[in-house]
């Protein structure tokens, strides 16, 4: 059934959008990522204007993350204190990111820089996680393997130390705030929640336990994407309510299924699957830059 989107001004098949929402929502529930890094490029591929895709996707992530985080709250796998600190950084970062986005747009290269940052970050994060998970699975297979000791790095010398009970950490608030800002900037530029960067950063840089990471990441993503949605709605008028509703309906259901599937998977399996997905998306976007496009011209809205 076709449905006309009032803001995007295109007609789409309702069931395609519902299905996409469900698929990405499920990934969101399993991995604790918003799924924007998959959904935003897919929406653009099916003909939604990029500006609308980015803004509406942010709105969908609010719903799927909220649905997912409720399940995590029940299992007490959300580090609220850590989430709030990351959120403060995230909001600051998102504000900066929107300004950077505007600047890139004014020099006419926003599309290239968005794609490049996708390729670089998806490649780095995916590659790192893949190798790490492979090693972890190999180690686990050998008898007498010892769990890695927590390293005492330079991070432990920083001031403003505080205790994160849920994560079992006693670290400075500076690293989470810096990570929040960095992810917030990237999230605003790339039009995603930033979970795919946040999750590995929490595991590898802050040393948080994997089970807590997923819920905490979702918790933080809700606030950052709600803020992004509001910015887009008031500044660019690019949030499409009907597209969002369809994506949300599919997404929340998918997220519920995903959260239950996620519990049954082992941490290493979870990580290697996510790494694979991130790498596939990275390869797709890299090919777009490297191969000659079938149409060299593109139409942008309006003049200067």
């Amino acid at each position: 059934m076709q449905i006309y989107l009032p803001i995007a001004e295109v007609s789409v098949n309702m069931f395609v959008i519902l299905g996409l929402g469900g698929m990405v929502g499920m990934l969101s529930g399993i991995f604790g990522v918003g799924g924007g890094f998959l959904m935003t490029p897919i929406l653009i591929m099916i003909g939604i204007p990029p500006a609308v895709a980015v803004a509406t996707e942010a709105n969908q992530i609010v719903a799927s993350s909220f649905s997912g985080v409720l399940a995590h709250f029940k299992r007490k796998t959300v580090d609220i204190k850590m989430g709030l600190i990351l959120m403060v950084g995230g909001l600051v970062g998102a504000t900066l990111g929107v300004q950077i986005f505007k600047y890139l747009k004014s020099i006419g290269q926003v599309e290239l820089l968005v794609t490049l940052s996708y390729v670089i970050f998806l490649g780095l994060v995916g590659g790192m996680m893949f190798i790490e998970s492979l090693n972890a699975i190999r180690r686990a297979g050998k008898p007498g393997a010892l769990p890695k000791k927590k390293k005492h790095s330079w991070m432990h010398g920083l001031p403003f130390k505080t205790r994160f009970r849920t994560s079992g950490l006693y670290i400075s608030v500076i690293p989470p705030i810096v990570i929040g800002i960095a992810v917030g900037i990237l999230a605003a530029i790339m039009g995603v929640g930033g979970g795919f960067i946040m999750v590995p950063a929490m595991i590898y840089m802050l040393g948080m336990p994997t089970k807590v990471v997923v819920g905490t990441s979702l918790f933080q993503i809700i606030f950052v994407t709600a803020y992004t949605t509001l910015s887009h709605a008031t500044q660019n008028f690019t949030v499409d309510a009907i597209l969002a509703l369809l994506l949300i309906l599919g997404g929340v259901i998918g997220a519920q299924i995903g959260t239950r599937v996620g519990v049954k998977l082992k941490a290493e399996q979870l990580r290697i699957l996510l790494a694979g997905m991130v790498l596939i998306m990275c390869a797709k976007l890299a090919l777009d830059l490297l191969l000659m496009p079938s149409e060299l011209f593109s139409i942008g809205a309006g003049g200067h």
Partner: protein, 252 residues
Amino acid sequence: MLRILITAIMLIASPLMAQEDVVVDLSQNRVDITATFAGSNIFVFGAVKREAPLPEGTGPLDVAIVIEGPLETVTVRRKEKKLGIWVNTDSVEVHEAPSFFTIATTRPLVEMLNEGDRRDYAIGLDFAVRPQGPSEEDVESFAEAVIRIRQDDGLYSQREGIVNLTEETLFEADISLPANLVEGDYNVRIYLIRDKNIVSDATVGIAVRKAGLEAWLYNLSREYALLYGLLSIFVALAAGYGASEIFRRLKR
């Protein structure tokens, strides 16, 4: 205005030509874009009014119908390979690019109308986009790109032979409009052509408007953007909570 003037001059300049006028109407003057809008059909019909019988040996009569969306300025970018990757390098602003353009005719266009009139009246896909300013070869390739891309999107088309002309007097055409139509004031231009020259023309307007829920949401998003944004977030949170509750109960 210019078109009427040219037609008038042409008619005065050729007194031998019999006076022929076009009378036309549409099945509808308004297209409502509702939530389930999946394209529409416009039925164009009309007749040829003659004051005197046709002189002997006059050539065949043809009809061309052009439906044109509102004109807009678009920025067209071209990609080039730089340092191994494809990036946007040049951009050109193309003025007067209609958001929608379709032409329906009785016969292949080049056989029924001279090129001068085709260009002057923008009759034909190749004249759909009129690049302004210096008409360098380069700018033309950007204008051609607009035509090519919009043709692929189904927004521009040339439908030769779909206008039915009966007894050189009555004509009709059923012209479909695609689902990705944009709001605005559309013009339907009808040309009566004899011996490759335009002898009469008429213009009728179609108002394409969002209606119902579409219009309400669109206006809300522009006029009460903050409320619209907050509402979007509220719906998202409610849906997230709703799904979580439903699944929790189902599990029990």
